[in-house]
């Protein structure tokens, strides 16, 4: 039942429950901290070289079938002239939204936010494959697993590497250390320190999803009007 309580906190119930607890007006971010860790990730686009080692590592560690992928590295059009051309890279994967549209729409509670870690995950058993979550995700990172027929996506290796106390496979495999993973609630964690030092942005933040995927932009001052 833990995910339904989670939903309750994140959803309408929050007003009533927290009003009685005397902390009305606290943001959802704070309510989600109650149970402990809150994992997030940084993709440093200035360090990424587009080698896609992360993509392969993820597939292997999480047994992701061919034809679908939990993450993609999207390469931009070349910037500049050969031989000095370079590219920008964008990581397309679950943002682990704090106000997650996929969780909000799911009719069965199969999509949930794990309250111990803040990780957005799917109970494959509970999922009926209505695809509402896939439509609702503004980042278009969800898919139907061709084997289980359930919705699936990146879960920060919650049941694989993380369960073994290791860093997510993509983070481990990156030769550039372009990926930083850690607990946003821990002020001494590498991720919090990096966030304090670097300029970051979050994708489609205006939709109110509160994504926990942070990005260091590799933009060289070009403004298109």
């Amino acid at each position: 039942m833990d995910y339904s309580r989670r939903k309750f906190l994140a959803g309408l119930g929050a007003t009533t429950m927290f009003a009685t607890a005397g902390v009305a007006g606290t943001s959802v971010i704070q309510t989600l901290v109650i149970d402990g860790k809150r994992y997030g990730m940084i993709h440093d686009e200035t360090l990424c070289i587009g080698c896609e080692a992360c993509v392969d590592a993820c597939r292997e560690t999480n047994n992701v079938p061919e034809g679908v992928s939990r993450l993609e590295i999207i390469r931009s059009e070349p910037r500049g002239e050969f031989p000095n051309a370079d590219y920008q890279f964008f990581r397309k994967s679950c943002q682990h939204c704090e106000d997650a549209p996929c969780v909000n729409v799911c009719p069965t509670g199969a999509s949930f936010i794990d309250k111990k870690t803040g990780i957005v995950d799917v109970h494959a058993d509970r999922c009926v494959g209505c695809m509402y979550c896939i439509a609702a995700c503004p980042y278009k990172v969800r898919y139907i697993d061709p084997v289980t027929k359930s919705a699936d996506k990146c879960n920060f290796c919650r049941d694989t590497n993380l369960a073994k106390g290791q860093l997510p496979a993509c983070v481990q495999s990156c030769p550039q250390q372009a990926l930083v993973f850690g607990d946003l609630n821990d002020p001494n964690s590498e991720i919090v320190k990096t966030l304090q030092q670097k300029t970051i942005y979050r994708y489609k933040k205006h939709l109110g999803t509160k994504p926990k995927m942070f990005r260091v932009p590799d933009l060289k001052g070009e403004i298109e009007l």
Binding site: G13, C127, A135, P138, I144, S150, L207
Partner: protein, 328 residues
């Protein structure tokens, strides 16, 4: 042409396909037919007449069968159809899921509308039961149940009216809950779908009543149906205009999305020809320029009903597909 049709029906950001449009379409018919049946019954002098009225008969068939049909489509559209029961068992796991609340609504709506139908056609059903299952009347205490429902008839009808309206707006909320697609994430969508659902419900009821229960222009309730149709079509037109203008006043993606939808390509064609032309303007015009005599002919009644249905189905397809063309 083939290639552009391919592109119009298959693109990357498309998640929900045409079965969902049919699902939304038939639920709208059920909602509209129920509202119409209640209106007519309230206007009729006695309950006795309600059971004989072709429009009410047609609605009594459409209301439950369309919901069941819609649910069958939904179940087979799941990637795991055999697990559909989880949607019912776990429907309250996520109290704010529009689809979850839809499931709750279907259940309550189906039970209450069946009770209402049983009440309206009590005599007929009793005769049937007495003939084929005389034992059922005694064992199941059905007569007692009937009396109970009869006592709360007014209240039941009031509740059903609300549920039917909720079913109509539900079809819109299901899509407007998606802030991942600007054209779907519009507050007028539930109203637009309610209005078009009413249109299609009235049209389908008239169609069935005329073809199967020999209704014609003189059937009581027919004039009322036509009188209801007019303002509903006008409000659909108004809501569509509000949607288009409103999105042009909106943010960047609102503008991009409405522009992509209506100003070129296959779905713009569906919108201007199917939704606007066939579904709204043609019926409005036909109503303006034809004489009373023509209007009272069955051919006219049937053809305007068909036009309306084509228009409403086009609207469902248009919103679903054009909506998913542009992600936020």
């Amino acid at each position: 042409m083939m290639e552009s049709l391919q592109q119009a029906l298959h693109f990357d950001s498309l998640v929900w396909h045409w079965p969902i449009a049919i699902y939304l379409f038939v639920l709208g018919i059920s909602s509209g037919a129920m509202c119409l049946a209640l209106f007519i019954k309230w206007k009729l002098p006695s309950a006795e007449k309600a059971a004989k009225n072709p429009l009410i008969k047609a609605a009594a068939i459409l209301v439950p069968s369309m919901v069941i049909f819609g649910l069958v489509i939904l179940v087979f559209d799941l990637t795991k159809p055999l697990h559909f029961w989880k949607v019912i068992v776990y429907q309250f796991a996520n109290p704010t899921s529009v689809m979850g609340r839809g499931v709750t609504l279907f259940i309550v709506y189906q039970i209450t509308t069946f009770a209402w139908i049983a009440l309206v056609f009590r005599k007929e059903l009793e005769t049937l039961l007495a003939r084929f299952m005389p034992w059922a009347m005694k064992i199941l205490g059905i007569l007692w149940l009937w009396d109970l429902i009869a006592k709360v008839e007014r209240q039941l009808e009031f509740v059903i009216a609300i549920l039917a309206v909720l079913l109509g707006v539900y079809t819109g909320f299901l899509l407007s809950a998606l802030n991942s697609y600007p054209l779907l994430n519009q507050p007028v969508l539930p109203l637009l779908f309610l209005a078009s659902g009413l249109s299609s419900g009235i049209a389908a009821t008239i169609l069935l009543a005329t073809t199967f229960f020999s209704a014609n222009a003189k059937t009581s309730g027919m004039t009322l149906s036509h009188r209801l149709e007019q303002p509903i079509v006008w409000s659909e037109l108004a809501l569509l205009i509000i949607l288009i203008i409103g999105m042009n006043f909106g943010g960047e993606m609102d503008k991009v999305s409405i522009d992509a939808a209506i100003s070129g390509g296959f779905w713009a064609g569906v919108f201007w020809v199917g939704v606007m032309g066939i579904g709204i303007l043609l019926p409005l015009m036909m109503n303006q320029i034809t004489s009373i005599k023509v209007k009272h002919s069955n051919a006219f009644i049937l053809s305007s009903a068909v036009l309306t249905l084509v228009g409403v189905m086009s609207l469902r397809m248009f919103i679903l597909y054009a909506g998913q063309m542009t992600p936020a």
